[in-house]
Symmetry: C2
Subunit: 140 residues, 2 copies
């Protein structure tokens, strides 16, 4: 179970934009500074824009900005935008993927785990990341 680089790069970019909120649009040039391929990141920012998480200004002096306060943007929003919704097993979305009933214990386990992960993701906002840069341990 792993995240693709899209999720990682996407969060890097969003965190950067959160840190620079109110300072005007940030160019791709700047956002990509830390080792993310520029043209690839450009694609990813397109996804974030279409998901309503960033707004853009075109033309000279243009760039990217977060579209909402950092407290209103969660990790779940970002991951969903970058990788689509979490789907541990296609059992969750495709009823006919197997001949097991909806009471199948395995299916229940996937559902519980999916809910749990989504909940964790929704709890972390860009704001909380800005406020706790030292990453104080959470009560797991």
């Amino acid at each position: 179970m792993k995240l693709s680089t899209r999720g990682k790069y996407g969060l890097y970019a969003m965190f950067y934009l959160a840190q620079h909120q109110g300072k005007g649009p940030q160019s791709l040039q700047n956002i990509a500074a830390t080792g993310v391929p520029k043209q690839y990141l450009e694609q990813l920012l397109g996804n974030l824009r279409r998901a309503g998480l960033v707004s853009t200004v075109r033309g000279v002096q243009g760039g990217y900005q977060i579209a909402k306060p950092p407290g209103d943007i969660s990790l779940l929003d970002i991951i969903d935008a970058m990788e689509g919704p979490i789907e541990l097993s296609e059992c969750m979305t495709d009823e006919s993927c197997c001949d097991r009933s909806c009471a199948c214990p395995v299916r229940k386990v996937w559902q519980r785990l999916t809910d749990s992960i989504n909940h964790e993701l929704a709890c972390v906002t860009l704001q909380s990341m800005l406020e706790h840069p030292e990453g104080e341990a959470s009560g797991i």
Copy 2:
């Protein structure tokens, strides 16, 4: 973020074996009954065996059995055996994957999330799946 079919098939197989514990070795034939490609499952059971989760009996009347009581086998054991450890970002295992310090807030978030998912997985055992077939909702 998704699980491969390996994880899914692996859990199906382990749950089947848990249901049939003490009834002697179960043949691949039987385990694969519900739509899992036989030869593929054979590979997967090899992984589970090498991880110490199932034991095998070769030859006529041979087959697969769980190697430990169902209460001692967690979802984490199974997922680890099938897909390797959860690694949301290579930041977790490869210090040099980027030039960010180990105090990088993004890194902290991945770590927290990884811990959380592992904890959830470790809490679910085959025994608990056998005991709660109706999958009563957990306190998320």
